[in-house]
């Protein structure tokens, strides 16, 4: 019996085993592909909280992770650009991944963006990455005072909050998909000994 895109069932199971090994080797705790809804966000938070409690992570680490997860997931749910249906396989969806090692947790998102939005995103993240703590605080308060909540509920504060809470730089990468869109990946880490 052929399975999905495989010639035979054995190939398929080989693939599954290889996939499982990749997940184990990279200590991936969670990986999700698809539309990131509010329901999904809530589910992932409770999953992560249960897991962190079981792993006896420090309460402060758990709090920081809650902040990072919510802002990362809400970023994708608000900004994953919805293109014409069938336009490409990434339309309006994204990837969310949590991985870890002995020292850090890593939170990674990926979603398509329109190419025209890339320069502003790069400028914003680079600016936030360069700021030290007091400057980040000032920038956060300024954005809170002057920023407007968008229809989608974004306040332009997510990246600043992630940077402030983690103390780490935000790493990002854009992979061209077509003339119109790129795949925007972002990763941030949280120290387990914070």
């Amino acid at each position: 019996m052929p399975v999905a895109n495989f010639n035979n069932t054995a190939d398929f199971f080989e693939f599954v085993y290889g996939f499982y090994k990749t997940i184990k080797a990279n200590d991936i705790c969670l990986v999700y592909e698809g539309k990131i809804t509010h329901q999904i966000t809530k589910s992932f938070i409770s999953l992560a909280e249960a897991q962190m409690a079981e792993d006896k992570e420090a309460v402060r680490v758990q709090r920081i992770i809650l902040h990072v997860m919510v802002e990362c997931l809400q970023n994708v749910s608000r900004h994953a650009d919805d293109h014409d249906p069938g336009d490409n396989i990434y339309s309006g969806k994204g990837i969310f991944m949590i991985s870890k090692n002995s020292f850090d947790y890593f939170f990674t998102t990926g979603n398509t963006v329109l190419n025209e939005k890339i320069p502003a995103l790069i400028e914003m993240i680079n600016k936030i990455n360069k700021l030290d703590n007091p400057m980040l605080k000032d920038f956060y308060l300024k954005q809170m005072r002057e920023g407007r909540l968008s229809d989608k509920g974004g306040a332009g504060l997510g990246f600043i909050d992630i940077r402030r809470k983690t103390g780490r730089k935000i790493e990002y990468y854009f992979l061209p998909v077509s003339e119109k869109i790129s795949f925007f990946m972002l990763t941030t880490s949280v120290s387990r000994t914070t």
Binding site: H38, H67, L149
Partner: protein, 124 residues
């Protein structure tokens, strides 16, 4: 004035706004799906209240967590109390935080810096 009471769930805080019993409180987690429509009744209620407030208003924030979109709304709420304060009404903001939650304390301190309203930071 009508009482506004919203029960908490995993993503919305409990809100009690009761002029007669002098209870004004938001507590719990705040990451609602639609931030604008969730907080609109709260904003409307407070807008009505500040026209004819009680002699003393003690507004309590007892958050365990709020997302960045909520922080913008919290500032909007505080700004309404700033106006009340400017008009000579007696209003105090009481901001609660867990003893070991430095970030929640810091958030309270930052809000206190941003608005001209008497602000008390209280450990739980």
């Amino acid at each position: 004035m009508e009482i506004l009471h919203i029960l908490a769930t995993e993503d919305i805080p409990e809100i009690i706004l009761d002029k007669e019993k002098e209870v004004f409180e938001i507590s719990g987690r705040s990451l609602p799906e639609d931030i604008n429509s969730f907080y609109q009744p709260v904003i409307n209620w407070i807008q009505g209240y500040i026209r004819t407030p009680n002699p003393v208003t003690i507004f309590k924030f007892r958050f365990s967590y709020f997302n960045t979109a909520s922080s913008k709304i919290i500032l909007d709420i505080l700004t309404m109390f700033e106006v009340m304060n400017e008009e000579g009404h007696n209003v105090v903001i009481r901001w609660y935080y867990q003893k070991d939650d430095e970030d929640m304390l810091e958030a309270g301190e930052e809000f206190a810096e941003m608005v001209e309203v008497p602000f008390e930071l209280v450990t739980l």
